[in-house]
């Protein structure tokens, strides 16, 4: 956790510097455009830098739980697996379209997480029905329906 406590404010500082720097030196925005970014950026960097110093010193803030758990290698691996499974829906809908991609993604997810075939298939078919009837037919959402290459 201590590492993360350092990483987050550091990331915010780098991000802010990058964005403000791009505005000032790359885009050469006028002062009217940059007034707010300069001001807010300075406040944000100041606050984050303060927090960064505290985090490096290992200081705990008032109102925080006594002990933050240090992540173990095991929990890191579990987190990575979980996050990857969730993010996998993006390539699924992108490659296969929303109508096919979402039910197939669900089917794969359920099966990989030990649900029965009956449960997995019926829920996926349910999702297919909801996607089609609710979103496409009733709500007339302009969903990319077909798999990549058939559009």
């Amino acid at each position: 956790m201590k590492k993360l406590e350092i990483i987050l404010p550091a990331l915010i500082i780098v991000f802010t510097l990058f964005v403000v720097g791009a505005g000032a030196f790359y885009y050469n925005y006028s002062m009217a455009v940059m007034r707010f970014p300069y001001f807010v950026g300075a406040v944000l960097i100041g606050l984050s830098a303060w927090r960064l110093v505290q985090a490096i010193q290992g200081k705990r803030l008032p109102g925080e739980p006594e002990e933050l758990q240090e992540p173990t290698t095991e929990s890191m691996a579990e987190f990575t697996r979980t996050a990857l499974w969730l993010v996998a829906i993006l390539p699924a809908v992108w490659l296969l379209g929303y109508l096919v991609g979402i039910p197939l993604y669900l089917l794969a997810y359920f099966r990989a997480h030990g649900e029965s075939w009956l449960m997995s298939v019926s829920l996926s078919l349910g999702a297919l029905a909801v996607t089609y009837f609710v979103f496409i037919v009733f709500l007339r959402v302009n969903l990319p329906v077909m798999p990549l290459g058939f559009q």
Binding site: M1, L4, E5, I7, L8, P9, I12, T16, V19, A22, G23, Y27, Y29, S30, A32, V33, F36, P37, V40, G41, V43, L44, L47, S48, W50, R51, L61, P62, G63, E64, P65, E78, F79, T82, A83, W85, L86, V87, I89, L90, V93, W94, Y98, I102, Y105, L106, Y109, F110, H113, E115, M119, L123, A127, T131, F135, L139, V141, N142, L143, P144
Partner: protein, 497 residues
């Protein structure tokens, strides 16, 4: 006396079988749009708008208004039982509602949220009806300087909204403001920080931001453990008795309810501030003056009542400028105004003179819809809470699918879906490290108003733009809000000694 005849006439106009039927159809529609994360009031209105072509005026507007008025009633339930705001303004309810659910008090939280929503909606309508005869001077007294100071007051609440260490809350708020600076700069029309991306020309969007921050971390937790929401907390089955207990709590905190609803109605009346702000402001104001402020963020029922009552009250308030000038008080109202024009009506002062009964009728629609929605949800709360018994391995991917579809549907933009995950990563880090996420949303929704209206006020009125009665009152409230905690602490210490 004429005024009361008008009221009863307006009421009678709504009591028609076809209008009641339309409302009965519109309310579940609105509630579902509220409950489902990603689908929001705007989407609901955008989808319903084409249906009103060719309808009569009152039924057509009743369809739009009834569904839009109950969105946040539905959204509060997802915020409480899943920790995922059903629509962005419900994010303020997550802060205390979700901890309550995890402590086994989900029933009470839902009861309080639903009762506060229903009554808040009615309160907003009462405010609207009370000022109908004097609408014009009231709306006219809120100009650009007032809008600026109200938004500024919202910013001072960043330190108060949300849970966890204040210093981290400030970082979150500043980050929210910073993220809102992307996209067209309002006074120069320069697309700021667009980095060659068409998506960033318009800046980041609120729906992916709110869902990424709040939903993705919950999905990760659900999916990683594979257990149900109920198992991770200590939820035992939600009973009807618990829900009723929550409802009763609103009456116990009646002063808080009135204060929060008033805040909602006022924020609704001022068009420029943005309706999304009101629940956060109400939450902060409640915490600031509460005797139990230290337990806010850990499941304090006051932290549920305040945002939810203001959330629904602001719809009544937002109707004020819409009817009075054809100037919508919120983005939802802008779409509603579209509905008026589709039906061949042109809101404005002349409109109110000729169609005062229609104005009253619309107010009635909002009030009735709020009451009906609250009753429906109170009866259903027990069953909806059973979602929390679904295994995480089933609930997480299903929710994810709905979020992906809902986010896409909100703007028909696949990039929105991608940004759910980008902000999801940020939300996960923030949650793990005790950074409160509500201030980020608050900062985000206020920035545009502050930047534009500071500029406008300076250009229209010069550096002394604050020398206006209402501006000075707001400044007074703002200063009082800042020094109040230390005053009350000193008072209490004095009393203790």
């Amino acid at each position: 006396m004429e005024y009361f005849t008008l009221l009863s006439e307006g009421f009678l106009r709504v009591m028609r079988p076809d209008i009641i039927l339309i409302m009965l159809a519109a309310i579940p529609f609105g509630l579902i749009f509220g409950i489902v994360p990603g689908l929001s009031g705007l989407t609901a209105l955008a989808i319903l708008l084409p249906f009103i072509y060719g309808m009569e005026a009152l039924p057509g507007l009743a369809l739009l208004l009834a569904s839009h008025a109950v969105i946040y009633t539905g959204g509060s339930v997802s915020a409480i039982i899943l920790g995922i705001p059903g629509s962005p303004p419900n994010a303020a309810t997550v802060v205390d509602g979700y901890p309550m659910a995890q402590q086994g008090r989900g029933g009470q939280a839902m009861g309080a949220a639903l009762m506060a929503s229903g009554l808040g909606g009615v309160f907003g309508v009462l405010v609207l009806v009370a000022i109908l005869p004097v609408l014009e001077p009231i709306v006219l007294s809120f100009g650009s300087p007032e809008t600026f100071f109200l938004a500024l007051m919202g910013v001072t609440f960043i330190a108060i909204v949300g849970e966890g260490p204040m210093q981290k809350g400030l970082i979150a708020g500043a980050l929210g403001i910073f993220l809102a600076l992307f996209g067209y700069q309002p006074t120069t029309s320069v697309p700021r920080f667009h980095f060659g991306s068409d998506y960033l020309l318009d800046g980041f969007r609120i729906i992916p931001l709110a869902l990424g921050l709040f939903a993705v971390p919950e999905l990760i937790a659900l999916s990683a453990k594979g257990k149900s929401v109920a198992q991770t907390g200590s939820i035992s089955g939600v009973t009807f008795g618990q829900v009723m207990e929550g409802c009763a709590a609103v009456f116990k905190h009646w002063w808080l309810f009135i204060k929060s609803s008033t805040i909602g109605a006022v924020v609704g009346i001022v068009p420029g501030v943005g309706g999304e702000t009101s629940p956060f402001v109400a939450y902060a104001a409640a915490k600031q003056s509460s005797r139990t402020a230290s337990t806010y963020g850990q499941g304090n029922i006051e932290g549920v009542i305040a945002p939810e009552s203001s959330n629904n009250a602001k719809e009544g308030g937002a109707l004020v400028p819409t009817l009075a000038f054809g100037i919508p008080g919120s983005t939802g109202m802008a779409l509603l105004l579209g509905g008026f024009l589709i039906l061949g009506l042109e809101p404005g002062p002349e409109f109110l003179k000729e169609h005062m009964d229609l104005g009253v009728g619309l107010a009635m629609v909002v009030a009735i819809a709020n009451v009906m929605a609250a009753i429906v949800m109170i009866l259903l709360a027990k069953y909806i809470a059973r979602l929390t018994y679904l295994r995480g391995h089933i609930l997480a991917p299903l929710l994810l699918a709905i979020i992906v579809l809902g986010t896409y549907a909100s703007k028909n933009n696949p990039m929105d879906v991608v940004y759910v995950f980008v902000f999801g990563a940020l939300g996960y880090l923030m949650k793990e490290l005790n950074y409160s996420r509500a201030p980020l949303i608050l900062g985000f929704v206020l920035t545009n108003a502050i930047e534009s209206y500071l500029h406008i006020s300076l250009r229209s009125f010069g550096p002394t733009f604050f020398m206006r009665p209402i501006s000075l009152i707001i400044i007074g409230l703002l200063v009082l809000g800042l020094v109040w905690p230390s005053i009350s602490r000193r008072l209490r210490r004095g009393r203790g000694a």
